[in-house]
């Protein structure tokens, strides 16, 4: 057996291993200038990755997952990063069984980020018959609020001046 055969074999094995994950999808939120959300149906094992770019006028993001399993064995792990850097890893979502007999996992966190950069996050786990919602809300920089208030004030002054004239 020569080296190239071994290499080919190794590639074949790695493809076979990656095919084990039943649901491995990638989703893009593009440029996150306003709140965006996405609904995904999963059953069995899943590992879904989402990417987004934070516009320069924002300094963070409120990231949230809400997963409902109509079966009873929901497991979901969350990791978050940029490029090859993992910033947060392996956060297991809080979970409980509601009165309606549905497994619920919920997680929300405010991340301080750098505007203009691209980030990714992954939700991985297993479920019987689940639907999860991902919501991302960009957090404006404090200066943006100040600018907005200043603009509003200016408008008020202009309106007042016009009236007195």
């Amino acid at each position: 057996m020569n080296l190239s055969v071994i290499k080919k074999l190794a590639v074949a094995v790695s493809i076979a291993v990656s095919a084990v994950a039943a649901h491995a999808a990638s989703y893009s939120f593009d440029s996150l200038s306003n709140t965006q959300s996405k609904n995904v149906n999963v059953s069995g094992d899943f590992s879904d990755t989402f990417t987004f770019t934070l516009p320069s006028t924002f300094s963070g993001v409120q990231g949230s997952y809400l997963a409902f399993d109509y079966g009873s064995d929901l497991i979901a792990n969350f990791s978050f990063g940029t490029g090859s850097n993992t910033l947060v890893s392996g956060v297991t979502l809080s979970s409980n069984t509601s009165a309606a007999g549905i497994d619920i996992a919920s997680y929300s966190h405010k991340f301080n980020l750098t505007g203009g950069k691209t980030y990714w996050f992954t939700l991985a786990g297993s479920a019987t018959d689940a639907n999860y919602t991902v919501t991302l809300a960009p957090v404006p920089e404090p200066e943006t609020y100040a600018l907005m208030l200043a603009g509003l004030g200016l408008l008020g002054v202009a309106a007042r001046r016009r009236k007195s004239k």
Binding site: H23, N39, N41, G44, L66, S108, A137, V139
Partner: protein
């Protein structure tokens, strides 16, 4: 302030039998709101309905499921793990049995607290469908706006003539 935009998206299970229909509603300003949708069950004792949003954008969420003018059930939302949600299951709630194919009205009430951002809420229906109800208020508002523009234009032109 009522909703401005309703982005409907049918989320279909990619590889498996799991199917849930979902719909997003947006609140562009803070305060109390009411959103109406149409809901149908596709099979007996199987429908699961949930309404949710992140707690940083919704301080309260609740819904009523109506059969015409009769209230079928009222569900109050709870905050858990950073999300606020209300859920109803026709599977586990034995006191209620929805008729498959029949159209029910889903009335969502809540308080939006989004600052500098649009608050996005989600409706997810498993084993059923959800669709938006056209709002008569939006047409009325549009007509009122048009009328106002006309009145202003008329006043202006008559002033110029004088």
């Amino acid at each position: 302030m009522k909703n401005i935009l309703v982005a409907a998206a049918m989320a279909l299970g990619a590889t498996t039998g799991a199917q849930a229909a979902s719909l997003t509603f947006a609140e562009v300003s803070s305060g109390n709101f009411l959103e109406s949708f149409k809901v149908t069950a596709s099979a007996p004792d199987k429908l699961v309905l949930r309404v949710s949003g992140i707690t940083s954008q919704f301080s309260a969420l609740a819904f009523g499921l109506w059969d015409g003018s009769t209230l079928v059930t009222n569900v109050t939302g709870t905050a858990f793990g950073g999300n606020t949600f209300a859920v109803f299951s026709d599977k586990t709630n034995t006191a209620i049995s929805l008729t498959p194919g029949k159209t029910y009205t889903l009335k969502i009430t809540g308080t939006s607290i989004a600052t500098g951002n649009t608050a996005l809420g989600t409706v997810v229906v498993s084993n059923g469908t959800v669709s938006p109800v056209p709002e008569p208020e939006s047409y009325a508002m549009f007509l009122a706006g048009l009328g106002l523009m006309g009145a202003i234009a008329r006043r202006r032109s008559s002033k110029r003539a004088a």
